[in-house]
């Protein structure tokens, strides 16, 4: 370290070492003793409440643990994994999670972008649109679901009334498998779009005006400007928004549990609720841990695939 030679051996600067007392010269320049102490509070909590539970969960998934007894229980080998992988209910719940992700990600990305694009063109009162689109995001899931249960109520709910005003017979919002997933997706789009919206709005506001001016001088049409300038310039934001959205959608639990209880007939039950059910209703903690690990690997795989995909795209753009 270069700094060591500047500080010199302890003996050469008696006045300064006196004021520093116990710290060695290297310590005051690198903090090699204080550094670990400053990270300690975080690292202890991190190991206790994230890494620890992960390791314990992996261990537990090989045992017949129960949620109502302490300890691991009997060793089960890979039987928990074998059972989960062959359980059609587990795969159905995984599929519902994927389906929910497919239903929510495109609208939450595309609509957020379009709304941000439109809002960005508005000169006055932009705060109003930011408020309208972002406000639902801070409402707790339980309150959101209470409101939407009322909207989806058969015969008297707002969704039914409004559709019948246009002469459309309202579907059975929460009573059928197909519509259940659509209803919860609509709720989710309303609830969470604000997050993606403000990410896009910030990205759009960063595009220098001069680029647009230059394009219009060159006679570029609105469509060409949008396709060739705006979209590529918000590309990084799009990558971020899609990645965050897919991961958030794969972790769905609250709204499906509260709005539909995973029903009708478990037809919308997401993977996380499957884990919840086998763990806390059937008390099979070891098996639930194994199911969570498979679910975790699936999320991890999605993140890795996305990471590789976006790396490749960045390289192509650079080439």
């Amino acid at each position: 370290m270069v700094t060591d030679t500047i500080a010199g051996p302890t003996g050469t600067a008696p006045a300064r070492t006196a004021s520093r007392r116990s710290r060695t010269p290297t310590e005051s320049f690198t903090g090699r003793r204080t550094g670990p102490w400053m990270t300690a509070p975080f690292m202890v909590l991190y190991l206790l409440f994230l890494i620890g539970p992960l390791i314990y969960g992996i261990v537990m998934s090989f045992f017949n643990s129960s949620i109502v007894h302490s300890g691991l229980g009997r060793f089960a080998g890979v039987s928990n994994y074998r059972e989960a992988l062959t359980d059609s209910a587990f795969w159905q719940s995984m599929w519902h999670t994927v389906l929910f992700t497919i239903f929510t990600t495109p609208p939450l990305v595309i609509l957020a972008f379009v709304l941000a694009l439109l809002t960005e063109r508005i000169r006055h009162g932009r705060w109003f649109y930011r408020f309208a689109f972002f406000a639902p995001y801070v409402v707790p899931s339980a309150a959101v679901v209470l409101i939407w249960l009322w909207i989806y109520t058969p015969a008297v709910g707002l969704a039914t009334k409004w559709l019948s005003a246009f002469g459309i017979t309202a579907p059975n919002w929460l009573g059928s498998a197909d519509w259940g997933m659509i209803s919860v997706s609509l709720l989710t789009i309303w609830w969470t779009i604000g997050f993606n919206f403000i990410l896009y709005l910030a990205a759009l506001q960063e595009i220098p005006r001069e680029i647009y001016d230059a394009a219009s001088v060159d006679g570029a049409s609105g469509f060409a400007t949008m396709w060739r300038i705006t979209l590529p310039l918000v590309g990084r934001t799009t990558a971020l928004v899609i990645a965050l959205q897919i991961i958030a959608s794969l972790k769905v639990f609250d709204q499906i549990y509260l709005l539909l209880s995973g029903g009708p007939n478990l037809s919308t039950r997401p993977a996380l609720e499957y884990v919840y059910d086998v763990g806390f209703t059937d008390y099979r903690a070891g098996y639930a841990a194994a199911a969570s690990m498979i679910y975790f690997l699936a999320i991890l795989l999605a993140s890795i695939v996305w990471l590789i995909f976006s790396r490749v795209r960045v390289k192509e753009e650079a080439a």
Partner: protein, 296 residues
């Protein structure tokens, strides 16, 4: 998976000079865009507005005319019913205490760790960074089973600690602070170090006072997530006296049946505190989200 770019410059407002010399066609197009976005904004406000209106109408009128937007007998009886019949005020207090303590704990531990990782060099620092990066991809939701066993073994279920402790290991917040501290010129700290200040004092008197944006982003966002957390509190809170707003609301919702004014009053009351937080700190929340990409 989050981008940490806290140093992002503030966007300049206004696009006014962009469409100079707009032809009538582009003017028409602009008007069309304006109309569409106004329509969407109104649609977005309908559920909240309708919940508010319904909560203020008399129960009898809702039964006869459920979707009306008007009444000549505005009343707060729905709210009175909810507050009298449930432990809502206790849930408010529980939510507030746990969210505030979580926010404070996150800011304190994450900023100290971020400072040490950004400014000091110690053995195992690289390993620690790797360990934290790995933590970024672990969704806490997949750990509910072992976490529940852990908290049961520690006899911490139905306590504030069961809600506070799991929110502390927020890796993204550490990276937010680390990035922010790296952006502060070392020369500022050097002056203090010449005066013999230790690392703790450097952190407390130089770095933290300069980090208001990072502190408020982490504090407010942690507060909002802890408040809105549902799955984990649902698992560890079984007594109504320890419940938070989301779990409490879910537990009483079925009891109201078709009393829509009460249901909507409870939804409005559940949404109200964070709404106030949002209105008060709108700028910080939006800056926090856009500069950190933090998502709950």
């Amino acid at each position: 998976m989050s981008a940490v770019t806290l140093d992002r410059a503030q966007p300049a407002g206004g696009v006014s000079s962009r469409r100079v010399g707009a032809s009538s066609r582009t003017r028409f197009f602009n008007a069309l865009c304006g109309t569409v976005v106004v329509l969407f904004a109104l649609i977005w406000l309908v559920p909240l507005a309708w919940a508010l209106v319904t909560s203020l109408r008399p129960e009898g009128e809702i039964t006869t005319n459920p979707t009306s937007w008007w009444t000549s007998h505005w009343t707060l009886s729905g709210y009175r019913q909810v507050i009298d019949s449930s432990d809502l005020l206790v849930w408010y207090m529980n939510s507030f205490i746990t969210s505030a303590v979580s926010a404070a704990l996150s800011v304190l531990t994450c900023s100290m760790a971020g400072f040490a990782l950004a400014r000091t060099r110690f053995k195992g620092r690289r390993f620690m960074l790797g360990l934290l990066l790995a933590g970024l991809v672990i969704p806490p939701q997949v750990l509910i089973i072992p976490m529940f066993q852990e908290f049961t073994a520690l006899h911490l279920t139905n306590t504030y600690w069961s809600l506070i402790l799991p929110t502390a290991p927020n890796v993204v917040a550490v990276f937010v602070f680390m990035t922010f501290f790296r952006g502060i010129p070392t020369s500022l700290g050097d002056a203090a170090r010449v005066d013999g200040a230790g690392w703790f004092r450097l952190y407390r008197t130089v770095y933290m006072p300069l980090s208001r944006p990072a502190i408020s982003a982490v504090a407010i966002l942690t507060f909002v997530w802890t408040w809105n957390n549902f799955l984990w509190p649902l698992l560890v809170l079984s007594s109504t006296k320890t419940m938070t707003i989301p779990v409490g609301l879910a537990s009483v919702a079925s009891g109201y049946g078709a009393h829509y004014a009460e249901v909507m009053a409870s939804a409005v009351l559940g949404a109200l505190p964070l709404f106030a937080v949002f209105v008060l700190f709108q700028r910080q929340i939006i800056e926090g989200v856009t500069s950190t990409g933090l998502k709950g």
